[in-house]
Symmetry: C2
């Protein structure tokens, strides 16, 4: 029986999603809690849509796990409440239900949407939000940044903004990348792609901020992209202002098809 | 020379605004930082618009202090940057400038506006915001709460919702009290009054939540108000979801007049 979970976490005190010996990770804490809450014979193995780095938050993370049918039938009515009682305050399961046939949290996903929060004005600094907001020392021109971002949209080899991995494609389809002011004056990026290579959102943001404060021309990020190699001039911005907001999936009937297609194209995807 | 400061803080690790021996308070940390940053001969004495309790946050707190003219003239251009370098991450001075004549951060204020955040749905829980959001176990009907809140507006003796102090009036003018859903689904109260007695926002909120989840009729808060005595049935909700958002002042020409009038009416105000 495959279950689909919606998950949120404050990444501050986690060493990222992926299980690692000796450090506190979202996957480890969650798998242990699920074993207890659902009385499973062993910790389940979670597959996740976005393997976030240390310090990155999530509001709309999605994962799946396979459990014995009889465990779920017994525990289903109480599952969410029991999980909530076991999890620490910085991790929550918002929903858990039987996954539709063919669902794979990672390979069925059509897109991932992230946000990145930057406060560029002393008058807008809010200490309550310091754990999910970057402070930037000068005012940002969001129109310039949006002009620069627009030139990076579409399917490209994003090698300039990725940490390269052996045997992994860095071709991605950047569906959306724009900046707006939130009600509190903070500049918020919305970044959506079919998938992201490692560090890609943080490197793209790091290329756009110097455009926003005037140190680089609006064409700079697109020029980096076209060059196709990692440039030491691109800063990878800090993780704490990044949040995985939502993961999009196709209609149920297309889940299995999508998963098969994704597996063919990408050897390692995120 | 009187200076006007705009201040923000994450109240989590402060024992409230007011200076107290042996504990970390906003006033103490800020006064020490201002002494260093402005090279004052002794710590200044801050007068504040809203003396927030332990755990309460502020985005738009206002204070004033009197400093020697020559200190300010020398330090003015660098003041904000120097203060920022000294203050800890959970406390910020957003602006500092010479106060208009007659300005008193406490007694010139026309109104204080607070917010209170309540998450009433597991599907909306966001661990990143757990330090400024209350979790409520059942869904809240905001229309019912707004109906109940409307009956409490206006000038009343709020003794039912205040901790009484010797010689202090508990008559206040409640200008606004309503609930709406934020973009993230969280229920947010906006509460504005000329001033608040101690615990007043948290007790009013505590009277409205049982209306929202159906355990009390919509007339209950107004009935408590009319009874005029503190009821043990009213819960004082936790401080961590409360934030002082803004303080309103009259035009500069009316500041001194307003301060004199406030002093006549209230012996102790907040």
């Amino acid at each position: 029986m495959r279950l689909r979970l919606e998950i949120g976490y404050d990444g501050t005190d986690f060493h990222g999603w992926a299980s690692q010996p000796g450090v506190r990770t979202v996957q480890d804490v969650l798998e242990q809690a699920l074993r207890l809450a659902l009385r499973l014979p062993q910790p389940p193995s979670l597959t996740v849509a976005g393997r976030t780095d240390a310090g990155v938050h999530a509001r709309g993370q999605v994962a799946h796990m396979d459990v014995p049918l009889e465990s779920w039938v017994t525990m289903a009515p109480l599952a969410l409440r029991r999980i909530g009682r076991i999890l620490p305050a910085d991790l929550t399961v918002r929903a858990i239900r039987v996954a539709p046939p063919g669902f794979d949290a990672r390979f069925s996903a059509l897109w991932r949407r992230y946000s990145y929060r930057v406060c560029d004005s002393l008058a807008s600094v809010d200490p309550v939000r310091r754990r999910d907001t970057l402070s930037w020392p000068g005012p940002l021109d969001l129109d310039r940044m949006n002009e620069a971002a627009g030139m990076c949209l579409g399917e490209h080899d994003f090698a300039a903004f990725c940490r390269r991995r052996q045997g992994a494609s860095t071709v991605r389809n950047l569906l959306r990348l724009d900046w707006r002011r939130a009600d509190d004056g903070v500049a918020v990026a919305t970044v959506t792609a079919d998938a992201f290579c490692h560090n890609m959102v943080r490197a793209l943001t790091g290329a756009l901020l110097p455009v926003g404060d005037g140190r680089r021309p609006a064409t700079w990020p697109a020029e980096l992209l076209a060059a196709g190699v990692r440039s030491p001039a691109v800063m990878v911005v800090p993780p704490h202002a990044l949040c995985l907001e939502q993961v999009g999936y196709p209609p149920d009937a297309e889940l299995a098809l999508r998963a098969a297609a994704t597996r063919r194209v990408r050897i390692v995807g995120e």
